[in-house]
Amino acid sequence: MSGLASKTMGELRDLLSTGACSSREIVQSVADRIRAVDQEVNAYLEVDEEAGLAAADEADRKRAAGESGALLGIPVAVKDLLNVEGQSCRCASKLLEGYISPYDATCVAHVKAAGGIPFGRVNMDEFAMGASTEHSAFGVTKNPWNRDHVSGGSSGGSAAAVAADEAIVSLGSDTGGSVRQPASFCGCVGLKPGYGRVSRYGLTAFASSLDQVGVLSKTVADAADTLQVISGHDPKDTTSDPSAVPDFSAALSTDLKGMKIGIAEEFFGSGVRADVASRVRAAIDACVNLGAEPVPVSFPHLDYAVSVYYILAPAEASANLSRFDGIRYGNRVEAEDPVSLMKQTRDAGFGDEVKRRILLGTYVLSSGYYDAYYVKALKARALIKQDFDAVFTKCDVLMSPVAPTPAYRIGQGQEDPMALYLGDILTIPANLSGGCGLSVPCGFSEDGLPVGLQILGPALAEEHILRAGFAFEQSSTWSSHKPEVKGM
C-alpha cells in the first residue's frame, strides 16, 4: 500500500488491526519517503533500514500470532539524545561520534514493550542547546514548509520528519520549548508532559530540573496514545512521578463545555508578531465556540523567565556535560597526558553554542557569583512557579502563542543569540514550573509558515491540555495541511 508514511498513527493502527497493511509496508514506506525527501529536509542523522524492516517483520509475526500492543509495528523516530541499545546516540555532537548506547532509555524500553520500532535518529541542536537545529554538528534541519527557514529546535529533526511525512511519530525532548516550538514552526503536534510524567532515564541530560521527554505527532490523539505508552513512575529516575497514569485518550472530547481557558495578556506582548497573535486569538475564539469559558489571568513575572532560564539551564548543563571528556566513550583527541586529552577532546568536540552555555553555566556557579546569579535565579524561578500556580487556580488551561514569530530564515539568528533566546519566552514558564504544554497547528502566518497554539496546564494535567487540543484540532482543518516536499 503506498502513502502509508503520510498516515497518522491512529489510521495505521486501524489498518494493521484489520490486516489491510503490514508493519513491513509501513516501515518500507517511511524509509522510501526518507530516501526521497530527506536530502532536502535533513531531518535524519541515521536510518538503519535493514534493522527497521527486521523489527517490522518481527512485529508482523507477533500480530499473526495474536499478540497486540499499543504501538505494535509502528516506527518511532528518536531524537538523537535518547539512548537506544545498540544505536548511536551522538546528541548531534562530534564529541559523541563512535558512542554506541549500551542500554535503552526507559521511554524507549516502553515503546519497545508496546511493540513500537525505534526507527532512525533525528537531528537536533547539539546537546539540545538551541531553538533552530542550526547548532547540529551535522547540518541544519530545514523547515518542510520553506527550506530557507529553520525547523525550530532543539527537536527540529523530530518536527520536520513528522511534518514532511518522514515519520509517523517521534520522541523528542523539551527543556525550554524544544518540543513545542519546532512543532509550531513545522505545523505538527508537540506535547511536553509535566515534569516527572515520563522517566528521564536514558535521556542525555541538558538541564536535569527542566528536561522532559516529549512527543511530536500528526494528531493530538497520536500524542495522547504515545504519551500513554511512555508515561509512568520509573525506579531508575527518582524525579519521576509516582502517581498513577490516567487514561489520556479517554480524556479527549470534541466539546469544551465547562473548561476555563486562561488568557494572559503578557503572553501577547510586544515581541509577538501581529499575524501570529491573530491566528492564536482566532483559535481561542474557536475554543470558546466549543463551550469553553475565557478567563483573563495575569502572569506578572513572565519577563524574568528568559533570564532565569539562561542562568539555571547552563548551570546544570555545565556539570551535566562535564562527563564528555573522551576518556570512557565517544570521540577522543589523543594527547600527552589525561588533562590535555580531556581539554583537547572537549575543545574539538563541542560546537560554539554548547561552549557558550558551558562557559555561562560555569561562570554563574563560580565562587563569588553563585549567590548573585544562581541563587537569585532560583528565587525568581519560585516567583514564576507562583505565577503559574496562581493562574491555574482560575482556569484549567492557559492559551497563548508558542513562539513570538513563525520559523525565521536560516542564519538570521546567528548574529544575535540574545534575540534568539528571547524567542523562548512563551515556552520556558512551563519548564520552570514543571507544568505541561501542547502545541497544536492553528493556521499560517502572512508568509505562509505554520503557527502553533500553545495550551499550557499545571504539572501532570495532560488530560486537560490534550482535551482542549483535541477539540480544537477536530473543529479546524489546520492539521490536515501538508507541506509540499516533492523530493527526488
Partner: protein, 474 residues
C-alpha cells in the same frame, strides 16, 4: 616567644560495607577484575541517573548515632565539579551544606590521658575510580567508582600526632563495632587527610597546610610529626608559610607542595537536580538506633557487672569486637564460667592470635570447643596440663575436645583406688626423696608428685595426688 603548638583537624573518608554501590546496583567488591562491577550509572554514561542506596544512608546515620551526632532529618546532595579521569561524571555527588550528620564527639585515651575531639559533620558521598599508570599509558578501573563513602570531619581539636593517631584508632574501633565498614586499611577502606597549622599557644591560628596521601594511621602519625616540625621551625624563624596542599611521601618521610591556595579548585557546588532531598522520619532513625550494637565502653561496663571481670580484663577483651564476641561465646559454652573463659582468651587465645596474625573468626578452635574444654576442667574430667595439650591440638586441627580426650585416653583419673596404687608405688621406689621430705625438704613433694603424674600418664587429678601424698608422708 611563647610555646608553639600545632592545631590539627582530620577529614576521614570511610568506605561503607554496603552490598551495592551508592547510586546503582553494581556490587561493591574488592579485588574484582578491573571494570567488571560497572554499569551506565557508575560509568557516567549519557542519560544515566543516580538512585540513592538506602543502606548507605542507614549506615551513615548509624555512624552518626554512635558518635553522638545530630541527625539531619532533611539532607541533600550536591555536585562538586572538577575534572579528573577517575571521576566518571567529572563531578562528585556529595553533601555540601546539608549533611546527614552534624556535630558529635569522640573520646579516647592517649597514654592514660583522656581526650575529646568534637566532630563537625559526617556526610555521604561517592568514591571515585582508580587510576593506574601502565607502560606508556594510563588505565582507570571504575569498580570503586560509586562505592558509598562517608567523610567524617573533626573540628580543629587535635594538638599532636599522637592524638591524631589515638583519634583514628578509636574511630576505627567504633566503625568496626557499628559494622558499617570493613575498616581494611590496606584496601583503602579508611583514608585520612589532615589539616595542620602551628602558632603560639593562645594566639590566633597559623597558616594551615592540608596533607594528603597517607595510607596508614602510622603514615598520618609520621606525616604530622614531620609537618609539625617543619612548620614549627618556620614559625620560630619568622618565615612566612603559605596556605597549600602538600603530599606525604611515605618512602622519603617528607611532605612536598602539591598546590597552593591560588590554584585551588573552585568546585562550583550546587544542589544535584537528579536527586530529591533525603527526608528521614524520627521513627526511622530510632529504628536504626535500636539495631545498633553495644559500644566498647558500654560493653566493658557490662562485662564488669555481668561477668564480674576486673576492669583491666574487660578493657582488653572489648578492645577488639571479634575478640569480645568470641569471649562471650566461650562463656556461654563453658556454662557461664566467665573467669575461666577470660583467662583462656586473654592468655592462650590472644597468644595464638598474635603469633599467627589470625582473627578470632579464623581460629580452628571454635568458641564452642574452647567452652566445652573449660567445662571439662571444671567438671574435673580433664586436668589443667592435659587441657593445655588439648587446646594446642585444637588450635592446629580443630575438632571436638571431648572426642580428642576420648581418643587420646586423656580423661582425668579421679578414682581414689587407682591414685592410691600410683602413690604407694612411688613411695616405695623413691626412698631418698621420701626421706628428704620427711626431714623438712618440702620441695621433694613436687618431685614425688611429678613421679605420680608420670605414672598416671599425666591423667591423675593433681589435687587428689597432692593430698594423698601429704597424708601418706605425714
Amino acid at each position: 616567644m611563647k610555646k608553639l603548638v600545632p592545631t590539627i583537624g582530620l577529614e576521614t573518608h570511610v568506605q561503607l560495607n554496603t552490598r551495592t554501590k551508592i547510586w546503582c546496583g553494581c556490587r561493591v567488591e574488592a579485588g574484582a577484575e578491573p571494570n567488571t562491577n560497572v554499569c551506565p550509572v557508575c560509568m557516567g554514561y549519557p542519560g544515566s541517573l543516580p538512585v540513592l542506596n538506602k543502606e548507605a544512608v542507614k549506615k551513615t546515620v548509624q555512624t552518626g548515632l554512635l558518635l553522638g551526632c545530630e541527625i539531619g532529618l532533611r539532607s541533600k546532595h550536591d555536585r562538586k565539579s572538577y575534572f579528573y579521569p577517575d571521576m566518571p561524571k567529572n563531578y562528585q555527588i556529595t553533601q555540601f551544606d546539608q549533611p546527614l550528620c552534624l556535630g558529635g564527639l569522640l573520646a579516647f585515651e592517649v597514654d592514660g590521658t583522656e581526650h575529646t575531639v568534637r566532630l563537625n559533620r559526617i556526610h555521604l558521598e561517592e568514591d571515585v575510580g582508580k587510576s593506574t599508570h601502565l607502560r606508556g599509558a594510563s588505565g582507570v578501573d571504575y569498580n570503586r567508582a560509586g562505592t558509598p563513602l562517608m567523610e567524617i570531619v573533626t573540628e580543629a581539636d587535635i594538638h599532636s600526632a599522637e592524638e591524631a593517631f589515638g583519634y583514628l584508632s578509636a574511630l576505627k574501633r567504633i566503625l568496626e563495632y557499628g559494622g558499617v565498614s570493613n575498616c581494611n586499611l590496606e584496601l583503602g577502606n579508611i583514608r585520612c587527610d589532615v589539616n595542620v597549622s602551628v602558632a603560639e599557644e593562645g594566639g590566633p591560628l597559623g597558616t594551615k597546610a592540608e596533607i594528603k596521601n597517607m595510607n596508614t594511621f602510622r603514615g598520618v602519625h609520621r606525616a604530622l610529626q614531620y609537618e609539625i616540625k617543619r612548620q614549627t621551625k618556620a614559625v620560630a624563624n619568622a618565615e612566612a608559610l603559605i596556605q597549600e596542599t602538600r603530599r606525604w611521601d611515605d618512602d622519603q618521610g617528607v611532605t612536598s607542595s602539591m598546590r597552593t591556595k591560588e590554584d585551588a579548585h573552585d568546585y562550583r557546588y550546587f544542589p544535584d537536580p537528579d536527586l530529591a532531598a533525603v527526608v528521614l522520619l524520627e521513627e526511622q532513625v530510632e529504628e536504626w538506633r535500636a539495631e545498633l550494637p553495644e559500644l566498647p565502653a558500654a560493653r566493658q561496663k557490662r562485662f564488669l557487672e555481668e561477668y564480674g571481670l576486673p576492669e583491666y580484663d574487660a578493657g582488653v577483651l572489648v578492645a577488639d569486637l571479634e575478640v569480645a564476641n568470641y569471649f562471650e561465646a566461650v562463656v556461654k559454652a563453658a556454662d557461664g564460667n566467665a573467669k575461666g573463659a577470660s583467662n583462656w582468651v586473654m592468655t592462650e587465645v590472644m597468644r595464638v592470635l598474635s603469633e599467627t596474625g589470625q582473627s578470632p573468626s579464623q581460629l580452628r578452635i571454635s568458641a564452642n570447643a574452647l567452652g566445652s574444654l573449660i567445662s571439662m576442667v571444671d567438671k574435673k574430667t580433664l586436668n589443667g596440663p592435659k587441657a593445655k595439650e588439648v587446646f594446642a591440638l585444637l588450635v592446629e586441627e580443630g575438632g571436638d575436645p571431648e572426642q580428642v580426650v576420648k581418643e587420646k585416653g586423656w580423661a582425668q583419673v579421679n578414682d581414689a583406688g587407682a591414685i592410691e596404687t600410683f602413690v604407694q608405688q612411688v613411695i616405695e621406689e623413691n626412698p631418698g626423696p621420701v626421706e628428704d621430705y620427711k626431714s623438712g625438704k618440702k620441695a621433694a613433694l613436687q618431685y614425688l608428685m611429678g613421679q605420680v603424674m608420670k605414672l598416671s600418664k599425666g591423667k591423675a587429678n593433681p589435687r587428689a595426688v597432692s593430698e594423698l601424698l601429704k597424708e601418706r608422708l605425714a
